[in-house]
């Protein structure tokens, strides 16, 4: 078959699991815990991320109940502050990062025709570090005051601004759990990022030059490079903070002459690239899924690669747009306003190229594509509100208001998470060997889209009416009440949508129809092997001649390599 070996049968029989081999449940769990297989680790990363998505979603729901009406007493101020701290921290570090690395783990080797990541043991090490970091953070709920006292989760915000994190303002150990949990998982992230980069650079199959790599691999290459650049400053700052807290150093101890703004710079030189680290994989999924469901090759591949690299570069020069209100000089404010708006150019190119891909195609609206379409609109809006926030004087009004909360949820929920759903639906048949239930998928999609827009479109309004973020309650009579109530109702709809998603995953695992190797009639290498793929992925290393090796096989008279 033109150099591509497929293994397993194409009839779609799902290999039976433990029953046939006579393994106990313990053996089964054991095989996952000790695994160094990139697919198993990828799935564990994804399951870990989805589990914490439910946890963080619960935290968000509690916050929304508290804010539904003014002067509410559903939760205490302290607990509310812990909720938004742990929600934000969880979503970025224990939902976003595990999902990003989970998909990178599962997809990158198989899409470049490799058998595993370059360093399988390092890969397992990275996963377990990240998992341990998450558990450490959550352990603070029972152990944050030290072993003797009652628990206390951190209440310093996910950004942990100094000097609120100093010993004087944060007694007990809740802040230490925040620092150590993130540091540990950060080491895991750095390990896995280095692993993915090495894999992409060194383990591509025969014929796959960099210019013939699937866009997903390109984008993950840039994303992992950014992880190396971004996570290190955060780790450095956290070590400095630990020294402050335990060794009497004064980096951020303002009462001894330390600097509060120093922490802000360290945090955002991490924090801003971090949002691109999360959104780039969303771009990667869109660049794989939209072509397949439009039945066309990606439009402007070289420009897409260039735009990805440009986003990576510009993203490390925009961090202080989170700090327009700290009293920087007008020259600094202008610089960061300009660099921020520059990001609009490469992201604009990407949106236009996806549009160009759909143009003249034959669009199929299966669930993964529906999520891609929602993503395009939501990400467009997120980009436009981002331009508003980048206009520094406008930011002096909008910063730290609910407008910002709405904006970044449009990027991270409307962009990242929406594409995670698209990705789960798209690659679910490959990973499990079964098709998900399309009806439940559509229910999930529509409930999610309606709930999302009810919540986050509306949320811009109280921000423009002067409602600051991170307040556990608000006064009546400011015109914020009705909007907050609508936001909360939208949250309830999203919760139902999410539960249907979980139900679909579990139901289809047992009852889904067999998927076969290539249920979407797609073009990249992962669809050339069986579903689920064998541990070695390909019995024989594939050879490719173009960016769409399966297109070449399916259209031997009109292969891609003639045009690329």
């Amino acid at each position: 078959m033109n150099g591509i070996a497929t293994t397993g049968d194409v009839t779609g029989a799902v290999p039976s699991r433990s029953a046939a081999t006579g393994k106990t449940v313990f053996d089964h769990i054991h095989s996952w815990v000790v695994s160094v297989d990139h697919k198993k680790l990828g799935l564990m990363y994804i399951m870990f991320g989805l589990f914490f998505l439910l946890v963080a979603g619960l935290e968000a729901t509690l916050m929304r109940i508290q804010l539904a009406v003014p002067n509410n007493h559903f939760v205490s101020p302290q607990f509310f502050n812990q909720l938004f701290t742990v929600h934000g921290t969880t979503m970025v570090f224990f939902v976003g990062m595990p999902l990003v690395f989970g998909f990178a783990n599962y997809l990158v080797p198989i899409m470049i025709g490799a058998r595993d990541l370059a360093f399988p043991r390092l890969n397992a090490f990275g996963f377990w570090l990240s998992a341990f970091g998450g558990l450490l953070l959550y352990f603070s709920f029972i152990g944050g005051e030290g072993m003797a006292g009652a628990g206390s989760a951190p209440d310093i915000g996910w950004f942990a601004y100094a000097p609120l994190t100093g010993k004087a303002f944060s007694k007990g150990h809740s802040t230490d759990y925040w620092i150590l949990g993130l540091m540990v998982s950060g080491f895991g992230s750095i390990a896995t990022a280095a692993n993915v980069i090495t894999t992409i650079l060194c383990m591509r199959c025969r014929g796959m030059t960099l210019a013939k790599m699937p866009l997903l691999a390109w984008i993950n290459l840039v994303m992992c490079g950014m992880v190396l650049i971004a996570v290190s400053p955060l780790t450095a700052a956290q070590i400095m903070l630990l020294l402050d807290r335990f060794a009497g150093a004064h980096f951020f101890d303002t009462q001894a002459g330390g600097s509060a703004t120093l922490w802000m710079h360290f945090f955002w030189i991490f924090g801003h690239p971090e949002v691109y680290i999360l959104i780039l994989p969303a771009f990667a999924f869109a660049s794989e899924i939209i072509p397949v469901f439009s039945r066309k090759a990606i439009f402007g591949y070289p420009a897409m690669v260039g735009a990805t690299a440009a986003i990576g570069l510009v993203s490390v020069s925009v961090w202080a747009h989170h700090m327009f209100t700290i009293g920087m000089t007008s020259a600094s404010n202008t610089f960061f306003a300009v660099s921020t708006m520059m990001v609009g150019i490469p992201t604009g190119i990407k949106i236009f190229n996806w549009l160009g891909t759909m143009w003249g195609g034959k669009l199929r609206f299966d669930t993964p594509m529906l999520f891609c379409i929602a993503f395009l609109f939501q990400f467009l809006i997120a980009g436009l509100t981002g331009i508003m926030l980048g206009a520094a004087p406008f930011n002096w009004q909008l910063n730290d208001s609910y407008f910002v909360v709405a904006h970044f949820h449009f990027t991270l929920v409307g962009g990242f998470l929406t594409m995670i759903f698209a990705g789960v639906y798209y690659w679910y048949p490959k990973a499990t060997g079964r098709l998900f239930n399309e009806t439940l998928g559509k229910w999930h999609f529509w409930l999610w889209v309606i709930g999302f827009h009810m919540t986050f479109d509306t949320m811009h309004i109280p921000g423009m009416l002067g409602m600051p973020r991170r307040i556990y309650t608000y006064e009546a009579g400011r015109g914020w009440g009705i909007w907050n109530l609508i936001v909360t109702i939208g949250t309830a709809i999203q919760v139902i949508g999410t539960l249907i998603f979980v139900l679909n995953i579990l139901y289809s695992l047992r009852k889904g129809r067999p998927a076969g190797n290539d249920p979407w009639d797609a073009w990249t290498l992962e669809w050339a092997t069986s579903s689920p793929p064998p541990e070695y992925n390909f019995a024989e290393t594939p050879t490719v001649k173009s960016r769409r090796p399966l297109w070449d096989i399916k259209h031997p008279t009109d292969p891609d390599w003639k045009y690329e």
Binding site: D155, F169, F299, S330, M341, W359, K362, L363, G477, G479
Partner: protein
């Protein structure tokens, strides 16, 4: 919900500016909103068109559509147009940054110092010798001719806070070990609401701000009243004794008495203010009594402890404090 009565004049909307810097921001915001709306309509419209026009039809023959890999001229166009839009936006932005941030302070402008505390605002008028809390009084100004803007010098006693009164100006942070400044120039009299915008600990939500823009005459009258030393009403002498002999004076000041604490709000003219606990409850004799008895009840986490006074002492103390007009 229906019970919530909203006075439109008190909604702190960023799109209802009443002060020069807030107007400048609204102008820029309007321009940015126009451009972004236009982009949304064009790109969103193209997306909708593509979704409808290129959907797979029921009578599809199953063949693949023509494969197009890209187009130099088209891609160059959709790179150039965003570049030009960004250029225009950055120029407009830079102009307003300069206009607001580099504005020259006119001679005679009012100087006010605002110091953020967990969780209240200390407000000082250094040239007038006035110290107050949570309520800022400023005179009305005119954007041309007889200008009297107020320049705020912002500091923090503990953690990072942010001064935000949306109808008067954008926000600026109050950062320990750093002195920031901003200015407002209100064009009409009235009450303008705001609150701390930077998470600053447990009671970040109850760090409310009230800015009263007074006519010049009213402002001068207010200054006269605030410059007086504290009332010393003999009928409240017993309460004053309670005040001076409990720990109140460690944190609070009352001008003209032994109380000179700096940790809590100055109480010299306590009764001239509308709220207690930085907006936690309305200021009234009953409110004051309940607050002193149990601050935690109104503001959990507040740094002011309950003083555990007996009822008789509490009554005397409240009687004294209510004389501090």
């Amino acid at each position: 919900m229906a019970a919530e009565k909203t006075d439109p004049a008190l909604v702190p909307s960023i799109f209802a500016p009443e002060s020069t810097p807030a107007h400048a921001i609204t102008h820029l915001a309007g321009f940015v909103l126009w451009i972004t709306s236009a982009i949304f309509v064009v790109v969103g419209g193209l997306l909708v068109y593509a979704l409808v026009r290129f959907r797979r039809r029921a009578n599809d023959d199953g063949t693949e559509p023509a494969q197009v890999y890209g187009s130099g001229p088209v891609e160059a166009a959709w790179t150039t147009v965003p570049f030009l839009i960004v250029l225009v936006l950055t120029l407009a932005t830079a102009r307003i940054i300069h206009e607001v941030q580099d504005a020259r302070k006119p001679v005679g402008a009012l100087d006010v110092q605002v110091i953020g505390h967990q969780w209240w605002w200390e407000i000082r008028y250094p040239k007038l010798g006035i110290v107050t809390a949570n309520e800022l009084h400023v005179p009305v100004s005119q954007s041309s001719g007889d200008r009297l803007p107020t320049f705020l010098d912002l500091r923090s006693a503990d953690v990072v806070h942010s001064f935000w009164v949306p109808r008067l100006a954008g926000k600026t942070d109050l950062i320990p070990n750093k002195v920031n400044s901003m200015w407002i120039e209100p064009e009409r009299t009235g009450l303008f609401l705001g609150q701390c915008a930077k998470y600053c600990g447990t009671q970040h939500a109850k760090m409310l701000l009230r800015v009263y823009v007074d006519t010049r005459e009213d402002f001068d009258r207010w200054v006269k009243e605030q410059e007086r030393i504290a009332a010393n009403d003999p009928s409240a002498a017993a309460g004053r004794l309670v005040f001076e002999q409990t720990a109140c004076i460690n944190c609070h000041s009352v001008n003209g008495t032994v109380a000179n604490g700096r940790f809590g709000p100055d109480l010299t003219h306590l009764m001239s203010r509308a709220t207690l606990g930085s907006g936690a409850l309305p200021n009234s004799p009953e409110g004051l009594r309940a607050w002193i008895k149990s601050p935690e009840q109104f503001k959990p986490g507040v740094l002011m402890p309950a003083m555990n006074l007996n009822n008789a002492d509490l009554d005397k103390l409240v009687a004294y404090l209510t004389t501090l007009k």
